[in-house]
Symmetry: C2
Subunit: 135 residues, 2 copies
C-alpha cells in the first residue's frame, strides 16, 4: 500500500552542518509553514517543545543492506528500527525542537538536526512524553 | 511537493474500540512487520518503549475547517498542530507502545490507540525522550 503525503512547510537555517541528533543540537532556524495551514499553529507557545515530522529528502534510496547499520557513535550493527538513521524503509524523521518564537506562519526554533530546505510533514505536541534530561 | 511512503506492516488487535491516546491505553495487540524488513527489528527488546509512526487510514479528508478543532477531552478550539487529532493535513500518527514480546516479524505490544488493520510506516527508538509519568 502506497501512501501520499504533502509538504506543509520546510526548514530554514543558516547552519551549513547540523548535529546527528536533536538531543545534542543548539542549532537555530525557522520552520516556515505554508500560509494555508497558519491557523493550525495558533496554540504553539514560546518555550514549548514540539515534535516535528519531516522527510529525509536527500537520503539515498533504502537498500536491503541498510536493515543493519552501525550508527556513527556506536560500535555495533543495529537493526534500522533501533536507530535514527535517515536510511530507513520510509525516509521519515522525527525531531523535538524548542520553539523560541512564533510570528504568523513562522516558528523560530532551536535544536535543529535537519538541514536547510528539509520538507516538513507534521507538527505534534509532546503529549505524554518529556525530554530525558539524564542524557 | 508530494512524498510517497509505503506500508511496512500493520496493527492487529482484537479490541473493537481503542482509547483516544496511547497514554491512557492498555490495549494489547501485535505489530506485524513485512518479512522483508524483519532483520531491522533485531535489537528491539522485550519491555522497551518504541515510537510507532502510522497512517490514519480511515480518517476523513482534511478540510480547512479542521485547522481549529475541539479535542474530545478539552473545552476549547485548538490549532490542529497542538492536537493529536487524526484529521490533520497529513493523516500521520505517532504512538509510544510497550513491547511485550518479539517473535520473528511480530512485535507483541501494549498501549494501542490505533485500530485493527492500521498501516505502520516506521518504528523508532525513544532516544532523548521518556514517558511523562506525572500524567
Amino acid at each position: 500500500m502506497n501512501i501520499e503525503f504533502k509538504t506543509i512547510g520546510f526548514i530554514r537555517t543558516n547552519a551549513s552542518t547540523v548535529p546527528r541528533h536533536w538531543t545534542i543540537s543548539d542549532v537555530r532556524g525557522e520552520i516556515i509553514i505554508d500560509k494555508e495551514y497558519m491557523k493550525g499553529l495558533k496554540d504553539i507557545q514560546k518555550g514549548q517543545d514540539i515534535i516535528v515530522i519531516f522527510y529525509f529528502h536527500i537520503s539515498p534510496e533504502f537498500a536491503v543492506s541498510d536493515l543493519l547499520q552501525t550508527p556513527p557513535h556506536r560500535n555495533e550493527r543495529l537493526g534500522v528500527f533501533s536507530t535514527c538513521s535517515p536510511m530507513r524503509p520510509n525516509p521519515i524523521g522525527m525531531s523535538v525542537l524548542r520553539v523560541v518564537d512564533r510570528e504568523e506562519n513562522i516558528l523560530h526554533v532551536t535544536g535543529l538536526d535537519m538541514i536547510d530546505g528539509t520538507p516538513v510533514i507534521d507538527i505534534k505536541p509532546l503529549t505524554g512524553l518529556k525530554k530525558d534530561t539524564a542524557l
